[in-house]
């Protein structure tokens, strides 16, 4: 639309835009000064020999078979962490969604809303640190952390879906004598489950990414391997793991793009 406006009347000199622009650029400059960063220094730093050996050490990835096998099991571990946590979270969220959508009255609604908001506002890494304390180092801590965070996110999304869904079928079943649980399972769930499934798949994609890095606080998967190898200064092994992470992210990306394209295609 703005193109149309431009073609009709020339835009007047905009004082407000100028003020906003100068405030923003002022803040950017202040940030660099505050942090003591000089962008020009970066380039001279990169030009110095300081970083070259670091990079060359990185460009010799360790491709020995035993190590590749370990990476393979790391990838599988990462995938299982993300899959199980997403599945558990979607089951929990289904339970959270009912009160969040206001099915059990306004009090339950605000309480469960608060719970969802709290669960999803705390970053995954913080949950992971807490869970490492709760169950010790390893993939189970990561699974729990992702489950808790994702339950908050999905609880809210599921609740909104439920709220926006028409309750005609549900009411019809209840009026003709069905129990509340059966009415939900046969009257409401069939209508909303494609949406719930697509939300869960989307979160699974994000959780795969998260599961690769949760290991930095000791919660298993590829991240824990990377952190370990880097602490031992074994750069070749570390670079192999980074390539594996990149590979995993790219495959997931490509797969979800295909899936999304197929979905929009089938919807018309």
């Amino acid at each position: 639309m703005s193109t149309l406006k431009h073609s009709m009347t020339a835009q007047k000199f905009c004082v407000k835009c100028l003020v906003i622009l100068s405030i923003i650029s002022g803040l950017i400059v202040w940030s660099f000064i505050y942090l003591g960063l000089n962008p020009i220094q970066f380039f001279s730093f990169f030009a110095d020999s300081n970083i070259a050996p670091f990079i060359t050490r990185f460009f010799s990835p360790d491709l020995s078979t035993p190590f590749l096998l370990r990476i393979g099991s790391g990838i599988l571990e990462t995938l299982s962490i993300s899959a199980i946590s997403t599945l558990l979270a979607s089951i929990i969220s289904l339970g959270l969604a009912l009160p969040t959508a206001g099915r059990f009255g306004p009090y339950a609604k605000s309480i469960s809303r608060f719970i969802c908001n709290f669960l999803r506002s705390v970053p995954e890494l913080v949950w992971a640190t807490i869970m490492v304390l709760a169950v010790g180092l390893g993939p189970f801590a990561g699974t729990l952390a992702l489950t808790i965070h994702t339950a908050g996110v999905l609880g809210r999304l599921f609740g909104e879906t439920l709220e926006n869904h028409s309750s005609i079928n549900n009411t019809a079943l209840i009026n003709s004598g069905s129990g509340k649980v059966a009415a939900f399972l046969y009257g409401t769930l069939p209508g909303i489950y494609p949406q719930l499934l697509s939300y869960s798949l989307y979160r699974w994609e994000m959780n795969i990414r998260m599961a690769t890095i949760l290991g930095f606080v000791g919660a298993g998967g590829l991240g824990q391997m990377l952190f370990y190898e880097l602490s031992l200064l074994r750069e070749p092994k570390a670079s192999t793991i980074i390539v594996a992470m990149l590979f995993l992210v790219m495959v997931v990306d490509a797969f979800s793009n295909k899936l999304r394209a197929a979905q929009t295609h089938s919807m018309g």
Binding site: S2, T3, H6, K16, I20, L27, I28, W30, S31, F32, Y34, L35, L37, P39, F42, F54, S73, L76, E77, L79, S80, I81, A83, I84, L87, S121, V122, P123, L125, V126, T129, I130, L133, A134, V135, G136, G138, P139, F140, G142, T143, L144, S176, G177, Y186, R209, T212, I213, F216, V217, G220, L226, F227, L230, I242, M245, L246, V249, M250, D253
Partner: protein, 280 residues
């Protein structure tokens, strides 16, 4: 209604039930190895010593630490986080604008017809796409972890990590926005012999500037969260402070930092919404 359902007993059982049962059994069989791999052991949660450690930590969360000295440290870290996100996004724009312009198909001269250096431009586009994939494919916390080794602990590594990942991300979205807008003006300019930059400035920027700016502001909001996360590996700001308090199991400090983090995210949400409203 009651007599109806009792006389026609088969009608009240779900005809799809056997199929669903089979599906559940099959998925449980598939899930089993995944549970093994993830070392799924819920009973660990109820081990007395684990409960004791976690309990001692969580009990300290209330009340949050509100000593003046500590609050001052948190304030400084918060400002540092804000500055990190802002500087990081500024550098990311520097990376993203040229990359996005190279990648975008709507500014591609070779799309109009094979020219003299058709293959060269195709090659350049592939390289740029690959670079973009690597930049944004590796999570920012991994970049931060690597850069901390080069630049030492502190915000420099965090700023660069954000600049790298968000540079890749922004360049992808910039090129998509340019492709999804009205591409005809730019094409007309290119066909009649204008350069790529001029075609962008006069043919595409006027109609897409608002969307480009709005998305960049939204990413700034995400960068604040990202810079806190990057801090966990020692890249400065609120995240680094939180990591230190966590390692010392100081619950009071952690809860103060978490509250400040919530407020910061809320503030960033509102500021970015305000700026984006102004842009409309």
């Amino acid at each position: 209604m009651q007599p109806y359902s009792t006389t026609n007993k088969p009608l009240i059982s779900d005809p799809a039930a056997p199929n669903r049962l089979t599906l559940i059994v099959v998925s449980l069989v598939v899930l089993w190895p995944l549970l093994e791999l993830a070392e799924f052991q819920p009973w660990l949660l109820f081990k007395p010593e684990n409960i004791e450690v976690l309990g001692n930590f969580l009990v300290q969360f209330i009340p949050p630490n509100t000593e003046t000295d500590f609050l001052l440290i948190v304030l400084v870290a918060t400002i540092e986080t804000l500055a990190m996100a802002t500087a990081g996004i500024a550098l990311a724009i520097l990376i993203a604008v040229p990359l996005g312009l190279i990648i975008s198909n709507s500014l591609s001269i070779s799309r109009i017809g094979p020219g003299s250096n058709y293959l060269l431009s195709k090659f350049a586009r592939y390289i740029a796409r690959f670079l973009m994939l690597v930049l944004r494919g590796i999570p920012e916390i991994v970049w931060a972890l690597l850069l901390v080794r080069v630049f030492g602990l502190g915000p420099t590594a965090g700023v660069l990590a954000i600049a790298i990942t968000y540079g890749g991300m922004l360049s992808k979205v910039y090129s998509e926005i340019l492709e999804s807008g009205n591409t005809l003006p730019a094409r007309a300019l290119l066909v009649s012999g204008s350069g790529r930059l001029a075609a962008f400035l006069y043919g595409q920027l006027p109609s897409t500037a608002q969307e480009l700016a709005s998305y960049t502001v939204y990413r700034w909001e995400c960068a604040i969260r990202a810079s806190v996360v990057a801090g966990f590996v020692g890249a400065g700001g609120l995240g680094q402070l939180m990591d230190q308090s966590m390692k010392m199991l100081n619950g009071g400090e952690v809860s103060t930092i978490l509250v400040v983090f919530f407020l910061l995210v809320l503030l960033a949400d509102n500021v970015s919404l305000l700026i984006r409203k102004q842009l409309e």
